[in-house]
Symmetry: C2
């Protein structure tokens, strides 16, 4: 099979041996596979994958058709459209994955959208609802809202009845994020627009002091991205106490199989039906054919994208 491979800080497309499904595993013919921040970090040698995953094969999500079931796997017939998370090697013609982490692709969703759905909607849903317990009527603030997780979070918050505010650095993306249902602010202006019940931090440490200032009593902050800095200088515990707040940190990639299966069930129950009703969409910045993976990586690394970058196969 052909697969994206990392070499010398860049990517190329190479032939690799076809994987084979073990017990309860499924072999999927991939049709689309999203890029994520972790791929860029891995390309730079800064985010080694968990044990058992090839260090030179990026890719954390995919969508495609079931080609074969391993022994005991029976959730999806051959030919079924499926998608899911993997700990690596997802940007390849074939992936092997445990059947419990697979999800059905919603009807009418095209391949590019499906290939860019699992990582960002799982991340956003887990952060907003599983971690932060976001409720209808509450105020949600999403920092870095023009990215993949950000556009997913704005839509999920809106769909659940939250009142959504978003910060977007890039002026040219503000209308698009507003179109998803958020009140859009400059990243420098959010403190006086509080208080917020839940804050999704996709930018990093520099926001954290102001996040606490803008937090309502009993508010929750989930930290998912730290591209602008991972160390908070002068973190005010007194303010955290006065807010009776809580700060969550999280990652998806290193979670155990059973935890990833739980997030897949949560998406099947609460998120995928909203693609069929039209409440949710995967915002695609751009789709690149697999052969142009290097261009896709450059586009992602350059910043300023709106939504997802996806490889199609």
């Amino acid at each position: 099979m052909r697969a994206v491979v990392i070499r010398d800080g860049g990517t190329l497309v190479e032939e690799r041996p076809d994987p084979e499904p073990g017990a309860h595993e499924v072999l999927v013919r991939v049709r689309a596979a999203g890029l994520n921040g972790a791929d860029i970090l891995q390309r730079a040698g800064r985010y080694p994958p968990p044990a058992g995953v090839p260090a030179d094969m990026p890719g954390l999500e995919f969508a495609g058709e079931v080609r074969a079931n391993g022994p005991g796997a029976d959730r999806f017939p051959v030919g079924e459209r499926v998608m899911g998370l993997v700990a690596g090697a997802g940007q390849a013609e074939l992936v092997v994955v445990h059947e419990r982490v697979l999800m059905p692709v919603p009807p009418r969703l095209d391949w590019a959208a499906a290939g860019g759905l699992p990582e960002v909607f799982t991340t956003a849903h887990d952060a907003l609802f599983t971690q932060c317990g976001l409720q209808a009527g509450e105020r949600l603030l999403v920092h870095g809202a023009a990215g993949g997780v950000g556009t997913a979070a704005v839509q999920l918050g809106r769909a659940a009845g939250a009142r959504v505010t978003a910060t977007v650095r890039n002026h040219s993306h503000r209308d698009a994020v507003a179109g998803l249902g958020a009140t859009v602010l400059s990243p420098d202006d959010f403190v006086d627009e509080g208080p917020f019940d839940v804050i999704l931090e996709l930018v990093g440490a520099p926001n954290m002091g102001d996040n606490l200032r803008a937090l309502r009593i009993g508010g929750r902050i989930s930290v998912i991205g730290t591209g602008a800095g991972a160390t908070v200088e002068q973190f005010p515990l007194g303010l955290l106490m006065a807010r009776r707040g809580r700060v969550h940190g999280s990652t998806l990639r290193t979670r155990a199989l059973e935890e990833k299966a739980m997030t897949a069930r949560a998406l099947e129950r609460s998120v995928l039906p909203l693609f069929s009703t039209g409440a949710l969409h995967v915002l695609l910045d751009r789709a690149f054919p697999l052969e142009h993976a290097a261009d896709a990586y450059e586009r992602f690394a350059a910043g300023g994208k709106l939504g997802k970058i996806v490889l199609t196969l």
Copy 2:
């Protein structure tokens, strides 16, 4: 009535008008009233009480007998032994409090113990269970375990089946804390003794980096006390994410009536029965008669106490 009053950074005992119970309120003849860190801060002018509470009358907890019920108050007959939290003015011969925040004093618990029970057991129970969801079998680390909240937390953790480790600065108190069921460490030695599922931070900011290092995946930290510093110089969000951890901050004093009533119900259900079985005790450092309140404050402010300091009336 006589009451402790703050003047010029010190305390004295003065006559004040008797309070009168309003609708659903209870007038209590106080027999004992604990001191807490917040009283010391208030004495120094650094912790102004919430609106409606006299700024010069400290005291956040009490135990005593019901002297009179206001209109509509019927939870406790006159003469009943009760205890509870107030937002201030608790170190006085009489207090008035809403009947829903009162709790019955467990049978056989003496006045000094009862007067020092509400604040620390409410704080510790709320932090360990309501915030952090501590479970049997998990490992709990309590920093500053020789104090009032610390000795309560060690006992509560132990009673709930957690495996408890405690740090204690003062060598002379280590045996006493070990006697409550904790493995006792020096505050400088805890990182290598992890991972811990729940960490109760009663000391402050200097521990926070090492707390994250010593946290198990999915672990929770509750920050309740910051005597050693309230600002974390370098707070590592990347480590919080890698641990998939969460950090809670909390205070009791400013909570609304209904929230304080909820904590009282939680104590009645889960904590007070364990005083009757002998699983829990109020550790008393020393009881002072009301007239010697100034000495009690000096003793508290000097540090190095073991458990609670209480005024008796």
